[in-house]
Symmetry: C2
């Protein structure tokens, strides 16, 4: 235990999870570690739920995290312990409660959360609970497989509880680079000029006095829910790889490309797999989340360096990575999400951003979050941080969903997360649309022709054609704009659409 808690005074603060959960009071604002089910707190939330189940003494909290937690999101939500939740989740139970209006969910751009606490626009944070590999002599907290918002939570919280996770190897020490921008108005530039620039500490500085409890656990992260690539995601990846080669041929990129970002999902994984056989070399990654494919790329010698704020790995890859860290150590860094997603850095580096959409409209607006405009899927996450600031912004979606009953290319998106100004390239399994420099009417043509499913193409053409006759910079038929969604809601199938009649 001396290794893991190097400050001898703090060793007296070790307690059981059951004791630690007592610190959580009704109405508290609690900031927890955890991002894409990695590095999340595990023992204390479980103890809290067990305690409440036993005693019936309900305590509802305002729960802030990096992004999605592992099982904790599900336990806390299904036991009605979450009053507010922010900034991101991807848990089926939480989703249900959000859509019933029981959990007040505030999705945020993932680079914004830290700033809003720092400015006092939300908060204050009563309690931070963070997972750690170890605590340094000075109370410094060394995170595990994600950094997320933990540095900010620890800095701002009145009290801190640490879960020391013994299943996390000490070889994780040194892969983090913890830097937080100063409170304004006296802030310096974030001096990251290349993806491998290190600018901070390898631990989260923390006054030991604030650490009121330390819980020892050994529970591993929940494995990622990665869906393996299918034929369609392979096709989409193929279009993106062709595009990148095209950009190199036209001198807009070198064969190092530009730092790559990819959202979670199977297309991103497929693109990265495709890079293994590509002509590109010495690739760099500046992303939020490192999935399995990043490590495959390391193993094939294609990647020089990867920067993220979290892992998101299958069980098998996790075991491999955690046991081989010395091999990867000099090529990886985990940063706070405020830094991995910071507009300043993303823009400076000219990142190539690849994220997934639920639906897109004929003008290139993107819905990443709301099914039928009303029901939350996950949240906007970091997609906006990257899409707005990247050098090249790509969104991918299959052209249909729900076995073809839904067209993911619609006349008018039922919810907007990213406007057409932030979208350069769109990809479906049908093809690719390069929207750079095009006006809305031009965008509509290429989106409909290149991306839509053959089954829906005529209806989209018909909509656009009739709308264009009515005029306007961005032609629409107000009475039909949302009729495709209505149709699906009422009949469970957009294919029943009768153009010009609805």
């Amino acid at each position: 235990m001396e290794h893991r808690i190097r400050n001898s005074f703090l060793r007296s603060r070790v307690m059981s999870a059951d004791e630690a959960q007592e610190w959580i009071r009704d109405g508290m604002t609690v900031g927890v570690s955890g991002f894409t089910r990695c590095g999340d707190v595990k023992a204390v939330p479980r103890a809290l739920v067990n305690n409440i189940r036993k005693t019936g003494d309900l305590r509802r909290i305002h729960l802030y995290s990096g992004a999605s937690l592992g099982e904790a999101d599900s336990w806390l939500s299904s036991n009605h312990l979450v009053d507010r939740r922010s900034p991101y989740q991807s848990d089926p139970e939480t989703r249900k409660s959000i859509n019933r209006g029981e959990i007040r969910y505030i999705e945020q751009h993932l680079s914004h959360t830290a700033e809003s606490f720092r400015d006092g626009n939300v908060g204050p944070i009563d309690l931070a609970i963070v997972e750690a590999v170890a605590i340094t002599e000075d109370g410094g907290i060394i995170p595990t497989t994600s950094v997320g918002n933990s540095p900010l939570f620890v800095q701002q919280a009145k009290q801190v509880i640490v879960e020391i996770n013994l299943s996390m190897p000490e070889s994780l020490i040194g892969i983090h680079d913890i830097y937080l921008p100063e409170r304004r108005p006296f802030r310096s530039p974030i001096d990251i000029r290349q993806v491998d620039d290190l600018i901070g500490y390898h631990y989260i500085p923390c006054d030991p006095e604030k650490i009121i409890g330390i819980v020892i656990t050994d529970e591993p992260d929940s494995p990622s829910r990665m869906i393996p690539p299918d034929e369609e995601t392979q096709q989409m990846a193929g279009y993106i790889l062709e595009l990148l080669e095209h950009e190199v041929r036209h001198g807009r990129l070198t064969d190092k490309l530009a730092p790559l970002q990819s959202g979670v999902g199977s297309v991103a994984n497929a693109v990265f797999s495709g890079l293994e056989q590509s002509p590109f070399n010495q690739l760099e990654i500046y992303t939020e989340v490192m999935q399995d494919s990043v490590f495959h790329l390391f193993d094939s010698g294609k990647v020089a360096f990867a920067s993220g704020c979290s892992f998101s790995l299958s069980q098998r890859m996790r075991d491999h990575v955690l046991s081989s860290l010395p091999q990867y150590r000099n090529q990886i860094v985990l940063r706070p999400q405020e830094i991995s997603n910071h507009p300043e850095v993303i823009r400076r580096l000219g990142v190539i951003a690849m994220n997934a959409a639920l639906e897109i409209d004929i003008y290139g607006n993107v819905n990443s979050t709301h099914v039928l405009g009303t029901h939350m899927m996950n949240g906007i996450g970091g997609s906006g941080d990257f899409a707005r600031n990247a050098g090249l912004t790509i969104f991918v979606t299959k052209s249909t969903a729900k076995n073809g009953k839904v067209s993911s290319i619609v006349p008018f998106v039922s919810h907007v997360d990213h406007t057409e100004h932030d979208v350069d390239i769109l990809v479906t399994e049908q093809g690719i649309a390069d929207l750079r420099g095009l006006s809305p009417r031009e965008r509509a043509k290429v989106i409909i022709e290149n991306l839509s499913h053959p089954f829906y193409k005529d209806a989209l053409r018909d909509y656009f054609q009739r709308a264009s006759v009515q005029g306007g910079h961005t032609p629409h038929l107000l009475e039909e704009a949302l009729s495709w969604h209505r149709q699906f809601k009422e009949a469970g199938d957009m294919r029943k659409l009768e153009p010009s009649v609805l």
Copy 2:
């Protein structure tokens, strides 16, 4: 003329506007100076139009600018000379052509345009035409009352034409700070930490060989089309000033506030006028455009420094400012719009952003551009650069338009320019809504109760209440969401709305 053209070789390049316009060929991409009708090129576009009227020899161009031009936008559009137009305009003739689909208009975030040329995503630029006070010994071009995108156009263009405007006093020399970020991947931080940090040259560097023509003019800028504040804009300004005092009381701001940005418009002017009598001091401005009110604030000793990329002044204020520049010189800087609007700097400084909306919806999404979702008003301009990255983001709109026939608070905006994630505070003449930390359903309540016009309040409540019953994180009734706009389109009046019946 030695003062104005200090490079003796270049004096041989002086020519008439009529000679200069010959350089403009059909199909060319032309980048011109001009921003909010200031510092725009005047003589060459006029000569082009006259020539084409005379000869019938139509030449259609791709026209890129900083933002809106003065009369040139109108001449060029009404004579069908503009094929593509980007990134912003606010001219009635141009607007008509855009909405008829004749001009292919690509609105962009104003900080994005330079980047998209630099990356080669659009372009190349065949010809830059920029207005200048003078040309230095080395060919350096000293801009006039706006900087806009001129530095980038001059840098990237194959050929450059300069309009030396003798009505622009030489005392303008020294108020510009010209800095362009490097081409990626080797880019440094933009080292502006305080609004008055100067990081560049006071001229646009230019190889004299590229300057193929110099035209001498003396035409003043078109005055701004400022609408004087009325009772309602005064009220809105009052709410904003109260909010700022409230922020100071709660320790979130000091009485210096934070650097202020304001979009063009009468509310912004009214807020700034209100600041003259406020308890705030040593104010700083980091904005796109400096309107009359900025100079009133200087005169009342309230402002320490103002940074922008353009002026936008009434005729009277313009005459005053241009004749009193030595007095303001140390307190003003004009920068390229890529810098005035850069996410990196806006975020670092924690700007307070105030911009106007056409309509907002009950969840806080903002439409700044499209009337009834289809017809372009001006363009997104810099509003997104500021809204996304500011420390505090405010949007203002009157609660109704068209003499009450339109509610500017609607169930569902007919077009999204800014999503609810980028909106902290909304203001109408009815009141103010502080949305920080609120979930969508909470936002809806405060928006409807605080901001909507009494005439429409019940209908909005009714919509929200019935939508909430149907559920979802962001409740909507798809069949009614756009019915208010339809109603206006069909009947010319939203007041004919019959809730629950449509």
